[in-house]
């Protein structure tokens, strides 16, 4: 027999009991060929191209789910940053493009479509400004469109004008979606060192250096790692790392298989596998649970950053060997509302936003799905974004903020965004003002790339 009964049952129980799935098969589509000075004509072309290129994505994913018995939770599309097209628009709005993307996603049965974004880490073009001004309206007029804006990089520093403008946009998007607890902000990411091949929402887009179309895969699997740790009992750090590497290898291999097959069936090149462990609100599918199984009383206690660093590194080491091309964000995600264990740690008083910020120094991807009080000022939001960007800039890693200032809510209230976005407590933020600092204007210069202490 090619496989033992034990091996087969291990694979089956990873899906059935330990909530293993492929989080996303994402198809990147270049839309630069849709350029037009008339935004409405451009929108028509974008709709036509996305529907034409992405037509096979959902049917292909369904066939693969059946063939291999592995659920593919999300089918997504990312496009070239729309700000590039917006440069040509006579009218200063990009909202019709967002509506076209939303309609295309609905036509194709796609869960989310991303790339309604801009790259402004060094400065704004006219197109960037049109795009950013359109974000609140675009996110409130659509259901499945996601937006991201890159405001800093290790090579160019941090565009603090971009930081401040995005803090205003976050605040406005929250207010405009007040009836849905600021849901628009759950579809908006502010990045430092954004990557061009990320398959995960909301920060996905097809970078300028990418091919005409590409298939990228994001895995999931915290539940499988947790189950392995539960079975293993008391291990030294070396043994623990080995165990996580093996589990990571297996789940990444499955992603590799799905990516290769999806690519072959759709006739679109296979880009990368993103080696991130991505939690869901489902019981047991939590990064926080893994950290606590490693021996922390509650996530957020002293030792959490070290535990997370080790987990993240072991996942990458195991995944690297399993994947032909690793890419995207590739690190453990610690979104708050999407991870029931993280929410419990906050409710128990073990985890606060300062510790969360420290944790983002050693893993993907930043302050992700963090609900903050609705009366948080633009200055404070800009300060939070700037801090997170500084961590990314200095450490040569991607960092991001997906902050939701929930209108009318205060720290400790519980907000429910529904589905994979989950529910969780509103976190307390610092109340002293960084206003003078964040409003200085201009850029924080790029850091030195030597003398790394």
């Amino acid at each position: 027999m090619l496989f033992s009964l034990e091996e087969v049952i291990e694979t089956i129980s990873a899906v059935g009991v330990e909530t293993f799935d492929i989080r996303t098969v994402s198809c990147g589509i270049n839309i630069l060929s849709c350029a037009d000075s008339d935004v409405n004509k451009c929108a028509e072309k974008v709709y036509e191209k996305v529907v034409r290129v992405g037509r096979d994505l959902v049917p292909t994913a369904r066939i693969l789910e059946k063939k291999y018995g592995i659920p593919i939770v999300n089918k997504r599309i990312s496009v070239t940053p729309v700000s590039m097209l917006a440069n040509a628009f006579t009218e200063p709005t990009a909202v019709p493009i967002a509506i076209a993307l939303d309609n295309a996603a609905k036509e194709l049965g796609i869960d989310y479509i991303a790339g309604f974004g801009a790259l402004v880490h060094k400065g704004f073009t006219r197109g960037d400004q049109i795009l950013i001004n359109s974000i609140p309206d675009a996110l409130c007029s659509t259901d499945r469109v996601c937006s991201s804006v890159n405001i800093g990089s290790s090579q160019s520093g941090i565009n603090m004008d971009g930081v401040y403008r995005m803090a205003e946009v976050v605040k406005e998007a929250a207010e405009r979606s007040r009836d849905k607890n600021g849901l628009a902000c759950a579809k908006l990411v502010v990045f430092c060192n954004a990557v061009e091949d990320n398959p995960f929402i909301a920060g996905s887009f097809l970078g300028a250096g990418e091919a005409e179309a590409i298939i990228n895969v994001g895995i999931s699997g915290p539940g499988v790692v947790r189950a392995a740790l539960e079975r293993a009992g008391n291990l030294s750090f070396g043994e623990l790392s080995e165990l996580i590497k093996k589990v990571s290898f297996k789940i990444t291999r499955t992603g590799e298989l799905i990516g290769r097959e999806a690519s072959r069936m759709m006739g679109i090149p296979f880009g990368i596998i993103d080696l991130s462990l991505a939690p869901t609100p489902a019981a047991g599918d939590s990064i926080s649970d893994i950290l606590e199984l490693m021996g922390l009383e509650r996530t957020g206690c002293h030792g959490t950053t070290a535990a997370l660093a080790m987990l993240n590194d072991a996942v990458k080491k195991g995944g690297m060997m399993a994947a032909t091309y690793a890419g995207g964000l590739s690190g453990a995600f610690i979104p708050v509302t999407e991870d029931a264990g993280m929410c419990r740690a906050i409710e128990d008083g073990a985890l606060n936003i300062q510790k969360l910020e420290a944790m983002t120094c050693v893993c993907s991807v930043g302050l992700d799905m963090v609900a903050i009080p609705g009366d948080t000022s633009v200055d404070v939001i800009a300060g939070i974004i700037a801090d997170e960007a500084a961590i990314g800039m200095i450490n040569h890693k991607t960092t991001a903020c997906r902050l939701i200032p929930v209108p009318g809510m205060k720290a400790g209230d519980v907000v429910d965004f529904g589905g994979l976005l989950g529910k969780g407590p509103v976190m307390e933020v610092g109340r002293h003002s960084p206003a003078v600092f964040v409003r200085r204007g201009g850029r924080i210069p790029a850091p030195v790339h030597s003398m790394k202490n």
């Binding site: 090619l2 087969v8 694979t11 089956i12 291999y68 590799e256 298989l257």
Partner: protein
């Protein structure tokens, strides 16, 4: 190995009762799917059966075969999993 083969792993799990193997293999035979290897164990009253099969000469689509097997599994009150062998090869073999 014959490259024209389409190898599919069938796994059956459930409480041990008479007739499980008979019911499952009848559905497989009716679909003209060829059983190449069988491994079966009783693990603490749990009936666990795994079969390596060749699907290439089947008289129905993969999805239809899954539906037929699922109907039989429901009748026998067991769980059945029909998966292409690649998923196991990728996870367990270098």
């Amino acid at each position: 190995m014959n490259n024209n083969k389409e190898q599919v792993v069938i796994t059956v799990l459930g409480a041990n009762n008479p007739g499980i193997l008979a019911g499952i293999t009848r559905t497989i035979a009716d679909s003209n799917v060829n059983v190449e290897d069988v491994s079966q164990k009783i693990m603490q009253d749990l009936f666990a059966l795994m079969m390596m099969t060749d699907f290439s000469a089947a008289n129905c689509s993969f999805e239809e075969f899954q539906n037929r097997m699922q109907a039989m599994a429901d009748q026998l009150r067991v769980k059945v999993f029909i998966q292409h062998e690649d998923v196991f090869r990728y996870q367990h073999r270098l």
